[in-house]
Symmetry: C2
Subunit: 471 residues, 2 copies
């Protein structure tokens, strides 16, 4: 429905401070995109700072059938917060007022606008840790992480956002404030609404508070950089380390294109003639990881690594990780548009996926670099292009579609950690089949019959095809 | 609907072997109870051994509106598999034919009738582990564990069944075979149907196969028995150990009544004058746990433990655990009926919960012993009674209701790991509120509009009150 002056007036009254109600063209423009593709202008931006404010806004949206798009800090790579049908953007970035650590129960309670890394920082002060570590953790909000079920390098050992959510406060599509889950690790009282809502990309309910599980912080960590002349050997090393009884906290891979891009960007002295670098981090008890690192070393050398370099101190450790951290800034120097995918496969298929990615790169003559969280099969094929080059963008579209097909073909999934959003909905049926998708849709319809919660996400519209548009 | 001869004939034809179709009175009787209360005779028992058999049975049940109750080995403590409205019991205990370990991907694929401990045994052969360890693991099936989201002592460090499920094959209420999730740890492609179905007690779909995540098996373990003159100090020790940066693999508590019961039963030489025993197991690298055990020892002594005894070898370790293992057999010697609850609370509330349990015990003059998984707040208050004593049973009912109320009052939950089933549905609204329960119900109605999947479980009927009946 059209957002009339009357409705705007009502919406404005829901907020205690009128400064948190934005309608200027400049404001609407700045909330019209995220870190993915496409630009969609909302009718209004509300910046709620309490559950009752959110509930009041939702009741108005429900009455007048106005789309509601919750948003953290807009770092989504899949279009999560984009107001594709206009309406209200609910900007949660100001609502960072609650971050309480309950040391005795190993719990954090947070409001949706809290920056994710601040949770871990606060936990650290009590000798605790909040493990999920998406690359955006220093800028993204926990609300966005919850909506998208964010992952990160530590996913291999520690799991993803969902594994650390004990309970939620939510606002339903008809404006009720409901609590799901609780404060305990074990809870089998009815259906697990908490884990259903986490990762539902704002389409099932609006998250207004979360109770998060913390764990004791590991005492120490050790990092090794392992060079491989053959990327197939890097794949073998990943499996062999795990089966040897060692669970690294991180296992990151960079392919040759990534290495070259970083080296051209920053001259770190990386060997540009190797096919792959593995960065392996162990954490835990200092005596344990020292011994385990010796075994990692011998496992890697046995499968044909060129060399294993173990950081001797924190400074060296930081230097080794620098290579991985610079991949993203390095590749956007090549061309201005970066399409970051997160197709995820069973780890045994990593070598085969690399082979297929190479074929796709050649077939469509695109600039493709691959890096990512190899330990859990969560690769990030990144295509570097220029969105103003229409012809190349058509080739990129075809290449992306083929990457998705390859991932599913190898027993993997469309998205490991970025979400479906607007970017991948066209491929949902390919992975889930008609029936699986229909089961998801029926939950959406039961909880949000008027389709006001983040419409246009996850579910494809009939005949939808994949398109990278940015206009 | 009445199960007519015609329908029976059709059902029989769905099974490749007619021996897996049971209608004799003796057979129906033996499938009419589980390890909880109540006896409900099914009309027929089908023992499917393939997804297509299950799908054929479900389609018939769907057509004629016949209740379907999936069942593993009947160890449920909450009435999970009971055919409360008659109909078909789907006995999965024969279907244990698939147990495949994919060593490279750290995955097990299993059919629903596989005994849970067999999965861990098979994983162990590859240096891997399947962590969930409900006390019933040696007799219960993975299908039952999945339906109930079974827990166990290792829940504290390793989480529960749900944390190890990557994907499912299910049969829907209208007889479609659908796959959810996949083979990867990271998967954010649409809603998480896998984690919604696990723990839904057979009310949303019938699980016919599961893909489970395995982890590297820890190299070593160490156990300590810690004695406390004051149970409050035991509660402090639990939190203090965790905050000191150590995550034990198990932290089990026994109260004085449990200790006395075990000692009278088996004369292990336990001190019957202490208020609590904590059994603490550490697992991991041998050097790490040796050092950590020293810290556990000093933390416990600092909060007032009488003594800490660390097992010096595997034989001593087994002896220490013997005390905990004998609690259940010991207490049923006192009186024949055992009501095992699993009210779970934030761990900081353990001392207060013990205080309240003591008051409840005195108020209703019942025989109450308390033990359980203290590390995650998952206590097992067990009431020992005789179900033939009607007057005592009324007092027991009131005591159980008060235990639930206490748990919820202290920020906990009705059920940590046993499920709701028939036993706790009367209390659902107390914990979840009208709106939370309605959200669950709407999923049930969307997926199973005819209410044929395990009807009479989880959701209370209007005006339902709690009753321990067994007739």
């Amino acid at each position: 429905m059209k957002v009339t002056e009357d409705i705007l007036e009502k919406l404005k009254k829901t907020l205690a401070d009128p400064k948190r109600f934005l309608t200027s063209e400049a404001d609407l423009y700045s909330f019209s995109f995220d870190a993915s593709f496409g630009m969609y202008k909302p009718d209004v931006v509300c910046q709620p700072m309490s559950s009752t404010e959110v509930a009041s806004i939702v009741r108005i949206a429900n009455e007048y059938l106005i789309p509601l798009c919750p948003r953290g800090r807009g770092t989504s790579l899949s279009g999560g917060p984009l107001p594709v049908h206009g309406g209200i953007v609910l900007d949660f970035s100001l609502w960072d007022t609650k971050l309480v650590i309950d040391e005795e129960n190993l719990i954090a309670t947070v409001s949706p606008g809290v920056i994710t890394s601040h949770i871990n920082d606060a936990a650290n002060e009590f000798g605790l840790m909040y493990p999920p570590d998406p690359s955006s953790a220093h800028v993204s909000t926990i609300g966005g992480n919850l909506a998208e079920n964010a992952g990160g390098p530590r996913g291999l050992k520690y799991g993803v956002t969902k594994n650390y959510v004990l309970g939620l406060e939510i606002v339903t599509a008809d404006g009720k404030i409901v609590r799901t889950g609780g404060q305990t690790i074990k809870n089998v009282t009815g259906y697990d609404l908490t884990k259903l809502i986490v990762g539902s990309e704002g389409t099932l309910a609006i998250i207004t508070e979360a109770t998060l599980r913390l764990i004791p912080k590991p005492q120490a960590s050790l990092t090794a950089m392992v060079l491989f002349d053959d990327i197939i050997d890097a794949g073998s090393a990943i499996s062999k380390v795990l089966v040897s009884g060692i669970m690294p906290s991180k296992m990151e891979i960079m392919d040759q294109s990534s290495i070259i891009a970083v080296e051209e960007y920053a001259s770190l002295g990386l060997p540009v003639d190797v096919e792959a670098i593995l960065l392996i981090e162990l954490d835990g008890h200092p005596l344990a990881i020292e011994d385990e690192m010796q075994r990692v070393k011998s496992v890697c050398m046995n499968v044909g690594a060129r060399s294993v370099q173990v950081a001797q101190d924190k400074k060296e450790e930081a230097e080794l990780w620098q290579a991985r951290k610079l991949v993203s800034p390095a590749i956007v120097k090549l061309k201005p548009t970066k399409i970051s995918e997160d197709a995820t496969i069973p780890r045994s298929q990593i070598p085969e996926m690399f082979r297929r990615l190479k074929l796709i790169k050649e077939k469509y003559n695109i600039h493709l670099v691959v890096f990512g969280h190899a330990g859990d099969g969560n690769l990030h094929p990144n295509i570097i292009t220029d969105q103003r080059d229409k012809e190349e963008m058509r080739r990129v579209e075809m290449a992306v579609a083929e990457i998705f097909k390859a991932a599913i073909d190898l027993g993997g999934t469309l998205s490991g950690e970025h979400g479906i959003g607007t970017m991948k909905s066209a491929f949902m049926e390919m992975e889930l089949g008609v029936d699986g998708l229909a089961m998801m849709k029926s939950i959406k319809e039961a909880w949000d019959p008027k389709n006001i919660l983040n419409p246009g996400k996850i579910f494809p519209v009939k005949g939808q095809r994949f398109e990278l548009r940015n206009d």
